[in-house]
C-alpha cells in the first residue's frame, strides 16, 4: 500500500479530501454582480457569511431579493395557470442572457394581461351559465304551463259537457266555483328558478311552512347537472315553479330562495313571448359561446408563448436570487465602493477563480479589477472530494455516517470494493445476482433519459445507487459461483464432484456418507453437498469461519489506515501508543484465531478451536492435549496472551501523559515568545483561541477519561466487532435456506403434480416469492448489514468523521434544487 501521501507515489484520488484555502476577494461594487455570477458558473467557492449578525432585511441587497421573490411569485402564477390549462413548460435549449429589469417589465405586463383575461372570461362564463340556466327554466316552466293549461282545458271541457248534460243536477255552488276559478288565478303570483337538488326537499318544506301551506310548488328534475353561475361548479338541480298569493308571501319566498341559493328567473305566461324569449336566449347563448371560445383561444396562445419561455425565465430568476443571496453574504467596505468576500476554495481552483474575477471585471467595464488573496487561518477547512458519477454513491454511503475530517483518510476508497463484497457474501446466488445485474443495467443504459425526468421516491433512490447495485450484483454473481448456487440449485460447472460412494453398491451412502476420491473441487463449493444431511453442519462451520476471517482482515485494514492517518498528520504518539498496541491486541487474539482456523483446515486436525481459545484465557499453562495443532503452541499462546495484556495499559497510560508534556512544552514556548514582538504573539493567541481544545486549557483528567473510554471501547470492541461479523454467516445462511425452500417447496412440488395448471401457479408463486422476498427484502437487509459493518466495525478503527462538507456557490445546484 502506497497511499502515504508523498514519498514514492502520487497522492491517491479520493483518499484525502482536496487541499483547501481560505481566500479573500475584494470586488468593486459595480462588477460584483457579474463576478459572482461567473463564480456561480464555476461553482468552486464556498462563501462565508460575513454578515451573520444582520437580519435578512438589514442586508445590502434585500430589495433585490424581494424583487426576485415577486418575479418568482409571478412565475408560479403562470405555472399554475398553465397546468390548469394543460400546458407543460417546454425545456428550451437556448440560454440567451435576459436582463432582470426587462424580465420584470415583461412579466408584469404578461401577468396583468393574464389576470384581465381571466377576469373577463370569468365574467363571460358566468353570464353564459346564467343564460343556460334561464333557458332550462324557460323550457321546463313552459312545459308546466302547457301541461297545466291542457289539463285545465280538459277539466273545463268536461265540466262544460257535464253542465250541458245535466245542468239541473249540478249544484249551483260548483258552477260558481268553476266560473270564478280563472278570475282567482289571475291574482296568484308565481316565481320560477332553479334549486340544487339536495336542497330541494328542505326548500319545499320551508316554503310550505313559511306560507302555512298557501303555496303551490312544482318541481322538475334536470337530467344533466348544470354549471352554477356563482360557484362555477357542476351541480344537480331542479327547476321549480311556485305559485303564491299576496305580497307578503312573495317577500318570504324571495328570502327563502336567497337562503337556499336558488337562482330565480323571470317567466311570462304569454305563449308568444315565451317563444320569443327562448329564441332570444338561444341567440345570445351562441353569441356568448363564440366570444368565450375566442377568449380561450387567445388565452391559450398567450400561455403557449409563456410556456416556451418559462423554463428560461425561471432559471434566470432563480439564478438572480441566488446571486443576490450570495452578495448579501459579502461585507461592504468602509468606502462603500468595494465588497469584501471570504470563502473556501480548493487550491487547484485558484487559477480558475482568478480567471473568473478577471472576466467579471473586464465584462462589466470596471476600472479596477478584483483582488484575490489567500488568508491563513487555523480554522478547519471544509471537506471536498472530487467524485464522479461512479464514486458519488459510495462516498454518500460514507458521508451518511459522518463527513470526513479535513484531509482524513477516506474509507470511501475501500468501501467501493468491500461494501459490495460484504453484501455479496450475504447474498451469494448467481441467479439472483444476474437478476439484480439486469435491473441495474436497465437503469445504467437509460441513465441519460432517467436522470432528466422525475422519478418516485424509491425509484429515485435505486437510480441514485445504480453503480453500487451494479458492483453488488457483480460480486453476488462471483460469490454465487463460489457458493455454487443458481436459484439455490448447484451446478457442476468446474468439473466433477470430489466425492463418490465407498463401494459399488452405494449402500452406506446414507449412513456413513460418501468418501473423497478426487482432488478438491477446484472452484467453490462441491455440488454434492446440496440436499445432504450433513450440508447444514458443514456450511455452518464454513461460513462462520469465513465470517471471522473476513472480519479480522477488514478490521486490520481499518487499523492500518489509522496508521496512515497518524503518519499524514505527523502524530507519532498515535503511531506508537495507539496503532501498534491496537494491532498487537487484535492480532494476538483474533489474528491468532484466524491462523488456527487456516491451520486446522490445512492439517485436517480434529482440534476444538473453542476449547483452545477459551482455555487460552482460563488456564494458559495447562497442557493442550489432543487440541494441539502445532508444536510449541503453549508457549506461543502464553506469549500472545502476555502481549495482549501488555497492549491494554500501553494504549491507556502513556498517551495522556505525553499529551500533557507536549502541551506544557508548547505553553512554555509561547510565554517566551510573548517577549519578542507583540503583534505576532497576538496572532498566535488568536490562532490558539480558534484552535480550541488543546489551546489554553488542558484538563488532564478529561484527556485521561477520554483515553480510558477509547481503550475500553477498543478492547471490548475487538471481541464484539468480531462477533458482529458473524452476521455474514447468518444472513448468507438465511438467504440460501430461503431460496432453497422456495425452489423445493414451490417449484418442485408444483412440478410433481404433473398438471400444467398447477405448474403455472407454482411458477407464478415462485417468481413472486423470488422477486419479493429474495431480490427486494433480502437485498435490503443485506445492504443494511453491510452498511453497519462498514460504519461501525470498519470505520471506528480510524474514522473521525467530524468534518463538514464543502458546499460551493454553484448554479448547477440551484438548477437541481427545483421545487
Amino acid at each position: 500500500m502506497a497511499e502515504g501521501g508523498g514519498g514514492c507515489c502520487p497522492p491517491m484520488d479520493l483518499f484525502r479530501s482536496e487541499p483547501m484555502q481560505l481566500v479573500q476577494l475584494i470586488i468593486p461594487i459595480e462588477s460584483a454582480h457579474l463576478t459572482v455570477s461567473y463564480l456561480g458558473d464555476l461553482g468552486l467557492l464556498q462563501f462565508k457569511d460575513l454578515n451573520s449578525d444582520k437580519s435578512p432585511f438589514q442586508r445590502t441587497y434585500a430589495t433585490q431579493i424581494k424583487r426576485c421573490g415577486e418575479l418568482a411569485r409571478k412565475l408560479r402564477f403562470f405555472k399554475e395557470q398553465m397546468s390548469k390549462a394543460g400546458f407543460s413548460p417546454k425545456t428550451s435549449s437556448t440560454r440567451a442572457e435576459i436582463n432582470l429589469d426587462d424580465l420584470e417589465v415583461k412579466l408584469g405586463e404578461l401577468e396583468s394581461e393574464l389576470v384581465e383575461m381571466n377576469a373577463n372570461s370569468e365574467k363571460l362564463q358566468r353570464s353564459y351559465n346564467e343564460l343556460a340556466e334561464y333557458k332550462l327554466v324557460l323550457q321546463k316552466a313552459a312545459d308546466f304551463f302547457h301541461a297545466a293549461h291542457s289539463s285545465a282545458l280538459e277539466l273545463q271541457r268536461e265540466s262544460e259537457s257535464r253542465e250541458a248534460d245535466d245542468s239541473l243536477e249540478t249544484p249551483l255552488l260548483l258552477d260558481q266555483e268553476i266560473s270564478t276559478d280563472p278570475s282567482k288565478q289571475v291574482k296568484l303570483g308565481y316565481l320560477t328558478g332553479l334549486v340544487p337538488r339536495e336542497k330541494s326537499m328542505a326548500f319545499e318544506r320551508i316554503l310550505f311552512r313559511a306560507t302555512r301551506g298557501n303555496v303551490f310548488l312544482k318541481q322538475a328534475t334536470l337530467e344533466n347537472p348544470v354549471t352554477d353561475p356563482i360557484s362555477g361548479e357542476k351541480v344537480e338541480k331542479n327547476v321549480f315553479l311556485v305559485f303564491y298569493s299576496g305580497e307578503k308571501a312573495k317577500n318570504k319566498i324571495l328570502k327563502i330562495c336567497e337562503a337556499f341559493g336558488a337562482n330565480r328567473y323571470p317567466f311570462t305566461e304569454d305563449l308568444g313571448r315565451q317563444v320569443q324569449s327562448i329564441n332570444e336566449v338561444s341567440a345570445r347563448l351562441s353569441e356568448l359561446k363564440t366570444t368565450i371560445d375566442a377568449g380561450l383561444l387567445h388565452r391559450g396562445n398567450l400561455l403557449q408563448t409563456i410556456g416556451d419561455q418559462f423554463e428560461r425565465w425561471n432559471l434566470v430568476v432563480r439564478k438572480e436570487k441566488s446571486i443576490y443571496h450570495t452578495l448579501n453574504m459579502l461585507s461592504l467596505d468602509v468606502t462603500k465602493k468595494c465588497l469584501v468576500a471570504e470563502g473556501w476554495s480548493p487550491i487547484f481552483a485558484t487559477k480558475q477563480i482568478q480567471d473568473a474575477l478577471e472576466r467579471g471585471a473586464y465584462d462589466s467595464n470596471s476600472q479596477v479589477g478584483a483582488i484575490f488573496q489567500v488568508l491563513h487561518t487555523k480554522e478547519s477547512p471544509p471537506t471536498y472530494f472530487r467524485t464522479n458519477k461512479f464514486t458519488t454513491a459510495f462516498q454518500e454511503i460514507v458521508d451518511a455516517y459522518g463527513v470526513a475530517k479535513y484531509q482524513e483518510a477516506n474509507p470511501g476508497v475501500y468501501t467501493i470494493v468491500t461494501f459490495p463484497f460484504l453484501f455479496a457474501v450475504m447474498f451469494g446466488d448467481w441467479g439472483h445476482g444476474i437478476c439484480l445485474l439486469l435491473a441495474t443495467l436497465y437503469f445504467i443504459i437509460r441513465e441519460k433519459k432517467l436522470s432528466s425526468q422525475k422519478l418516485g421516491d424509491i425509484t429515485e433512490m435505486t437510480f441514485g445507487g445504480r453503480y453500487v447495485i451494479l458492483m453488488m450484483s457483480i460480486f453476488s454473481i462471483y460469490t454465487g459461483l463460489i457458493y455454487n448456487e443458481f436459484f439455490s440449485v448447484p451446478l457442476e460447472l468446474f468439473g466433477r464432484s470430489a466425492y463418490a460412494c465407498r463401494d459399488l453398491s452405494c449402500g452406506d451412502s446414507t449412513t456413513m456418507g460418501l468418501i473423497k476420491v478426487r482432488p478438491t473441487y477446484p472452484f467453490g463449493l462441491d455440488p454434492v453437498w446440496h440436499g445432504t444431511r450433513s450440508e447444514l453442519p458443514f456450511l455452518n462451520s464454513l461460513k462462520m469461519k469465513m465470517s471471522i476471517l473476513i472480519g479480522v482482515t477488514q478490521m486490520n485494514l481499518g487499523i492500518v489506515i489509522s496508521y496512515f492517518n497518524a503518519l499524514y498528520f505527523k502524530n507519532s504518539i498515535n503511531v506508537w501508543f495507539q496503532f501498534i498496541p491496537q494491532l498487537i491486541f487484535l492480532n494476538s487474539l483474533f489474528g491468532y484465531l484466524s491462523v488456527l482456523i487456516v491451520m486446522k483446515w490445512c492439517t485436517g486436525s480434529q482440534a476444538d478451536l473453542y476449547h483452545v481459545m477459551i482455555y487460552m484465557f482460563l488456564s494458559p499453562t495447562d497442557e493442550l492435549g489432543e487440541n494441539q495443532l502445532f508444536p510449541g503452541q503453549k508457549l506461543v499462546q502464553l506469549v500472545l496472551l502476555f502481549l495482549a495484556l501488555v497492549a491494554v495499559p500501553w494504549m491507556l497510560i502513556p498517551k495522556p501523559f505525553l499529551l500533557k508534556k507536549q502541551h506544557e512544552a508548547r505553553h512554555q514556548g509561547e510565554s517566551y515568545a510573548l517577549l519578542e514582538t507583540t503583534e505576532e504573539s497576538l496572532q498566535v493567541e488568536s490562532a490558539n483561541d480558534s484552535h480550541g481544545g488543546h489551546g489554553e486549557e488542558f484538563e488532564f483528567s478529561e484527556v485521561f477519561v477520554h483515553q480510558l473510554i477509547h481503550t475500553i471501547e477498543f478492547v471490548l470492541g475487538a471481541v464484539s466487532n468480531t462477533a458482529s461479523y458473524l452476521r455474514l454467516w447468518a444472513l448468507s445462511l438465511a438467504h440460501s435456506e430461503l431460496s432453497s425452500v422456495f425452489y423445493d417447496k414451490v417449484l418442485l412440488l408444483a412440478w410433481g403434480f404433473n398438471n400444467v395448471f398447477i405448474l403455472i401457479i407454482g411458477i407464478v408463486v415462485f417468481v413472486f416469492a423470488t422477486v419479493g422476498v429474495l431480490l427486494v427484502m433480502e437485498t435490503l437487509s443485506a445492504f443494511l448489514h453491510a452498511l453497519r459493518l462498514h460504519w461501525v466495525e470498519f470505520q471506528n478503527k480510524f474514522y473521525e468523521g467530524d468534518g463538514y462538507k464543502f458546499q460551493p456557490f454553484s448554479f448547477l445546484v440551484t438548477e437541481e434544487e427545483e421545487e
Binding site: P10, D13, T418, F421, Y499, T510, L514, G531, R533
Partner: protein, 70 residues
Amino acid sequence: MGFLITTLIFAVVGIIASLLVRICCNRTPSTNLLHLTLVITAVVCCWMMWAIVYLAQMKPLIVPILSEGE
C-alpha cells in the same frame, strides 16, 4: 488444480486487470493509483473468498451423507 496454481491464476488475473485498467482508463497518476487500489482490493477479496472455501474442503472432517429419500 492445487491451491498454489489457482492462487497463481488469481495473481495473474489481478495483474492483467491492473494493466487493462491502466491501458483503458489512463488518467492522472493519482487516478491511476486509485484504480490500481480498487483492482487489487477486489482481487484480494475474491481470492480470499475462494481460498477459504477451497481450504475448508481440502481435508474434510465432515463428509456428505445423502438423505434417505435419494
